[in-house]
């Protein structure tokens, strides 16, 4: 398989940049495939009657691990394959159901090179359905600092993916 893809460099990114938005029409298949792909057999992600009668929601809904996969896809659509995600932290505020059109948007909040020479961009992501924010996410992705740099070559102590502000970035319930 041959495929070309963007390879974003750290120098291409500035604080305040917006990532291209991603709009996706969610169907029951989206929810069920996402649940099964993450080996999540819980019935609220495939059984309409369980979701509505036991959970009291209007339909089956996207599961958490699949949302993580959507965030990874959204970030690396932007960076290309040389982008290496270090950290993703998301908070689910409202469920996403079949029939919803979910729209991902994001803004770059920080650009830096760490003490080991690794380039990083931090992004704030929101997933909306209409005007309603369903999930928010903070992410940190390593980007090449030059065309010859490859964040994936970092191993062990040369790879420090945790957010530089430690626990401060973790959303709290």
């Amino acid at each position: 398989m041959t495929q070309t893809a963007t390879r974003l460099l750290l120098s291409d990114v500035t604080v305040g940049d917006s990532l291209p938005s991603l709009s996706y029409d969610v169907t029951a298949t989206t929810v069920v495939v996402g649940a099964l792909a993450t080996r999540d057999w819980r019935p609220q992600h495939h059984d309409y009657h369980f979701a509505t009668e036991r959970n009291g929601v209007k339909n089956i809904f996207l599961n958490s691990p699949n949302q993580l996969a959507w965030f990874e896809r959204y970030v690396t659509d932007w960076t290309g394959p040389t982008g290496r995600v270090g950290y993703l932290s998301f908070r689910m505020i409202d469920s996403i159901f079949p029939g919803d059109t979910m729209v991902f948007t994001a803004t770059v909040t920080n650009v830096e090179t760490d003490e080991l020479g690794c380039g990083w961009a931090e992004v704030d992501i929101a997933v909306k359905v209409g005007d309603k924010v369903c999930t928010t996410c903070k992410g940190r992705v390593a980007l090449p600092t030059s065309p010859d740099d490859n964040p994936w070559s970092r191993r062990g102590e040369t790879w420090v993916p945790q957010p530089r502000r430690g626990e401060d970035q973790k959303p709290r319930a």
Binding site: M1, Q3, Q67, L68, A173
Partner: protein, 172 residues
């Protein structure tokens, strides 16, 4: 109810490793492609062996799949009761008599890449349990559980942190 009323046997579990175990099956490419397909992730790192060879020295799993490798089979021969993922979460629901629960937050930090053929091991650590709180869902407690993943060489491949809320529906 106050935090002082958190049962001592629950407090004693905080920061202790629990449920240390190996995955039921090795990391495999079919599942990687299924996962990428589920979110239409066309990253050539997962689909194009030449790109994977160039950037990561060979195929890797999508990093977001960490928990996938530890979700138990829906059925297996001889399995009398279905194993549950994130067992500490279900233990807390039972021990604290909180029949309903939701997950609100997930934080995942990605370390060494996971590769096809890897057999991962994991352990769960309860990090905190809140005092009882009232929310629109009901009355209950928030808890934070960390899940640590390592490969067969002992290298850390990721740490997930889940915030759950176990609750009882308030009487109408």
């Amino acid at each position: 109810m106050t935090d002082a009323e958190l049962p001592a046997h629950i407090s004693a579990l905080i920061d202790q490793p629990q449920y240390e175990e190996a995955g039921d099956f090795p990391v495999e490419r079919g599942y990687i492609w299924t996962a990428c397909a589920s979110v239409e992730n066309g990253n050539p790192l997962f689909w194009d062996d030449a790109v994977a060879a160039e950037l990561t020295g060979g195929p890797i799993a999508a990093p977001s799949m960490l928990s996938t490798w530890f979700r138990p089979h829906h059925w297996a021969p001889g399995l009398e009761t279905q194993k549950l993922p994130l067992q500490v979460h279900f233990d807390l629901k039972k021990e604290l008599d909180l029949p309903e629960a939701v997950m609100s937050d997930n934080t995942t930090i990605f370390y060494e890449p996971v590769r096809p053929g890897d057999i991962l091991t994991t352990c769960q650590r309860l990090r905190s349990v809140s005092p009882e709180k009232q929310t629109k869902l009901g009355t209950g407690r928030f808890w934070v559980i960390d899940v640590e993943y390592r490969n067969q060489k002992g290298e850390l491949v990721g740490v997930e942190s889940w915030t759950g809320f176990g609750y009882r529906r308030d009487a109408a």
